[in-house]
């Protein structure tokens, strides 16, 4: 995380978003795994603070009109598709065509490919692309069997390589300086699609190879043959909007050059938006309306409970246990990833609390929530340690963690935005 934050690859992007800051929705609803939290890091480093974390309900309620960007990360794309349904698909299409920016990585990319159309997927008409990593009878995995396959109709989506891959320029890299810099760009592929983008003008980046920081369910040579020269990142501009799909997680915080590809895509779309004089409609900043007061006690309680939960989470990581929720396999490490996103931002909340008043009720709710999470984590660990089935406890814990992390990050970004409001011309962070 520190490496990415300090990397100069993102320098120069922050200023671009200061003029009429974009409003960003990050999808954290049904099917979303943990990777949506990586968007929080990236947005923060880009100086984009007008961020909300939304579920399928917001999409279905027509709330996308309030946003300029919609970011959908990894997870269980089947669960996402079922939750959004045809109505959600049409909302997203409408959002893009009327000027919105959709970025889907991994599951978020599968979701909107025109070639992914079997139940429960709704065909999208945003980018003419399909996936190549599908076949009726894939060979057995050499490793990572639990992450290797997912059913797709009568066929299987398979993942021949899992880990760091290299991206190189595609047929249409114009506007992406980050791709023609110092050699291939590393990015993590965690089950995302090997794309087949029909229009060469939409091919931003291709898979150039793999690195030693990857695992190979297929023999490495065979896996490289499959992905080499195929599309990793595609972009289309239907209507007034932009859709960017990516097999690898360009938003991963340890891959700053991949982050820069996203930043360039953001910047390109935002420039079009400003030039067209079009922005999402303003909306009320809820946090500013909440009752404020001395929140030191609530902040300390959040810190106490997040610390307790992290310690239990660390203990869980020593156990040989995973949980399958939908088609997604969750490892214990994911618990601490969620908690760390809150933990690492608590010093900022502590500072704000020391300087003035904060929304106390909201923080009290978060403290109670994290206390509940600590209890859930302890119960999960007891069951896992004793070899009992802990699936139900894992589902409860991970669901609650997602909700709380979204709630905490929403508050955090609102406070950052609020602080910038009074200091906009001297932004240095």
């Amino acid at each position: 995380m520190r490496r990415a934050a300090a990397d100069p690859a993102l320098d120069g992007f922050r200023e671009r978003f200061l003029g009429g800051a974009p409003r960003v929705a990050v999808y954290c609803g049904e099917g979303a795994s943990h990777s949506w939290i990586w968007f929080a890091d990236l947005l923060e480093r880009l100086g984009i603070y007008d961020v909300e974390f939304v579920t399928e309900a917001a999409v279905l309620d027509g709330e996308l009109a309030r946003f300029d960007f919609l970011l959908v990360g990894g997870g269980d794309t089947y669960a996402m598709a079922e939750a959004l349904g045809g109505a959600g698909a049409r909302e997203i299409e409408s959002f893009v065509r009327s000027g919105g920016f959709y970025h889907g990585s991994c599951a978020g990319a599968y979701l909107v490919l025109s070639g992914v159309d079997l139940e429960p997927f709704t065909p999208f008409d945003l980018i003419d692309a399909g996936m190549l990593n599908v076949m009726p009878d894939p060979p057995p995995a050499l490793c990572l069997e639990h992450k290797y396959l997912a059913p797709y109709g009568s066929e299987w989506v398979f993942h021949p390589v899992y880990g760091e891959v290299e991206l190189v320029e595609g047929d249409a890299p114009a506007g992406f300086i980050s791709l023609n810099g110092a050699g291939p760009v590393g990015a993590p592929l965690f089950g995302g699609p090997v794309l087949e983008v029909a229009d060469p003008a939409c091919r931003i980046a291709d898979y150039g190879g793999t690195t030693d920081r990857a695992a190979f369910p297929w023999p490495r040579e065979k896996a490289e043959r499959l992905i080499h020269g195929r599309q990793a990142v595609g972009r289309n501009e239907p209507g007034e909007g932009t859709v960017l799909v990516s097999g690898p997680h360009l938003e991963h915080p340890l891959f700053p050059r991949a982050n820069a590809i996203m930043a360039e895509a953001f910047a390109g779309h935002w420039r079009r938006t400003l030039e067209a004089g079009r922005q999402a409609s303003a909306h009320v900043q809820g946090a500013s309306l909440e009752l404020r007061g001395d929140a030191a006690g609530a902040v300390l309680e959040i810190k106490r409970q997040v610390s307790n939960a992290r310690i239990v989470g660390f203990g869980l990581e020593k156990l040989p246990v995973t949980w399958r929720i939908g088609v997604k396999v969750w490892e214990p490490e994911k618990i601490r990833m969620f908690l760390d996103y809150t933990w690492n931002r608590l010093p900022y909340i502590e500072r704000r609390s020391a300087e003035g008043t904060l929304p106390v009720q909201r923080l009290d709710e978060l403290a109670a929530g994290y206390s509940e999470v600590t209890g859930l984590a302890k119960r999960l660990k007891l069951k896992a340690e004793s070899g009992q089935d802990s699936q139900a406890e894992a589902l409860s814990l991970l669901t609650r963690l997602k909700e709380l992390t979204a709630s905490f990050l929403s508050l955090y970004f609102r406070l950052r935005l609020e602080e910038r409001g009074s200091d906009r011309n001297t932004l240095t962070d």
């Binding site: 810190k303 610390s307 307790n308 992290r310 310690i311 239990v312 660390f314 203990g315 933990w343 007891l382």
Partner: protein, 422 residues
């Protein structure tokens, strides 16, 4: 946060049930580690404090940077005494975000401190009252949900104020030869549990960590008690323990692995976890084992005797010295012998030089002349490095002191450290 948490102090008032984090600016005058601990004791002397502290390097990759301490007034001598926090307890305390913790006053009910990631909690310990140290460790780890929590606790001996009482680190005793456990008992402080997932900042991290790893890589030490008994010119303790030996274990960041885990409730060659609930005992210090071996005990009953002492929170060195020359065998007889201990003996070692134990107690073996022994203890407790390691490894103490600069912007030397104790 200051580098190495240098100067950060937590003050726990057990009478009021409150905690307060204070900036101990005097540390720049008095020095880090035990030197700061002594100054803090004086500052809070009126409230009969116990100071739980760590050295400047405790918790870092400096070789053998495992050492913390408990400082208080010994009920045996009425003088200040130090108990070592070795194994992983000292390092974990530092990593929990607290370099120094002053515990003042007495609680009206049993409590334990839960120090984690910079959060100090005073927890109710009513349910732990009367538990032995093994039960206490298990109960706190179960309550907090993690087996790597380090539990500095007292057993029934400490709760009863016994002059044989000794602070225990998890299950395995400590080097508390001055009954500081009885002070914890008087305070109704059943335990201090520590765990932190943080990292220590250094003033010049690249230089500090590079030099620390260089020092670490330059040290080679044999496993087991061999280096200690050889330096003492004594018999082969490892050979005596060999039929029961399962593995050796190092404290945090130590290139050596002197502690020996023995098994006597199952075949010690069984390496994987089995269904034997309590397979054995970590012989965490050589002195007690030497007293029993020299006193005619067979290894197995001797280890069982040490286990019983560890469970009850009894000082193993003085206990073993009292049992030396009175060997028994058979589980019931061993248990009865431990229960019959009177606490009449002084701490010390059966072999080696006569050392001026004093403030530092008898934890570090007398394997050097008095001046060198004192210097190792002073440097060790100020910097947070095991003094036994300093004496055995021959590591350059001046080179260690030079690390204080990149660690926390401090300049010091062994001579200056000696002056901190005048």
């Amino acid at each position: 946060m200051d580098s190495m948490y240098y100067g950060d102090v937590l003050v726990v008032d057990l009478e009021a049930g409150t905690t307060e984090q204070v900036d101990f600016v005097e540390v720049d005058e008095v020095g880090p580690g035990l030197a700061a601990g002594l100054a803090l004791f004086e500052k809070y002397r009126d409230s009969d404090p116990l100071v739980f502290g760590s050295g400047l390097f405790t918790g870092t990759p400096v070789p053998a940077a495992c050492l913390g301490f408990v400082l208080g007034k010994s009920p045996l001598s009425g003088e200040l005494a130090v108990s070592p926090l070795s194994m992983f307890a000292g390092a974990e305390m530092k990593l929990s975000g607290f370099a120094m913790v002053v515990v003042k006053g007495n609680s009206s009910k049993p409590v334990y401190l839960w120090l984690h990631d910079g959060v100090p909690d005073i927890e109710d310990a009513s349910g732990l009252a009367g538990m032995d140290t093994w039960e206490t460790t298990d109960a706190i780890r179960r309550e907090m949900g993690e087996s790597m929590i380090q539990v500095i606790s007292i057993g029934p001996a400490g709760e009863a104020g016994s002059k044989l009482a000794s602070i225990s680190i998890n299950y395995w005793g400590s080097g508390d030869t001055d009954a500081l456990a009885a002070v914890m008992g008087e305070k109704k402080l059943k335990a201090v549990a520590v765990r932190g997932l943080g990292m220590l900042d250094a003033d010049e991290p690249a230089e500090f960590y590079q030099k620390a790893f260089e020092l670490f890589g330059g040290v080679k030490m044999a496993k087991g008690f061999g280096p200690v008994t050889e330096a003492l010119g004594g018999p082969d303790l490892d050979k005596w323990l060999e039929p029961l030996m399962h593995r050796t274990r190092a404290c945090f960041a130590c290139p050596g692995a002197c502690s020996t885990f023995v098994k006597y409730n199952e075949d010690p060659s069984v390496m994987e976890s089995s269904d034997v609930e309590e397979p054995g005992m970590l012989v965490a210090g050589a002195a007690a084992a030497l007293w029993l071996m020299e006193g005619g005990w067979e290894a197995e009953p001797a280890c069982r005797a040490m286990e019983y002492m560890a469970r009850d929170g009894i000082d193993m060195i003085r206990g073993a010295r009292e049992l030396s020359g009175k060997p028994v065998s058979g589980t019931a007889e061993v248990e009865a012998a431990v229960k019959g201990l009177e606490g009449s003996e002084e701490a010390g070692w059966p072999l080696g030089e006569e050392s001026p134990y004093g403030l530092f107690g008898a934890w570090v073996p007398p394997i050097a002349a008095a001046d060198a022994w004192l210097e190792a203890n002073r440097v060790g407790y100020v910097l947070g490095i095991c003094a036994t390691f300093l004496l055995l490894s021959g590591v350059d103490m001046n080179a260690l002191c030079e690390l204080c600069g990149p660690a926390a912007g401090i300049e010091t030397s062994p001579d200056e450290i000696a002056a901190m104790f005048e």
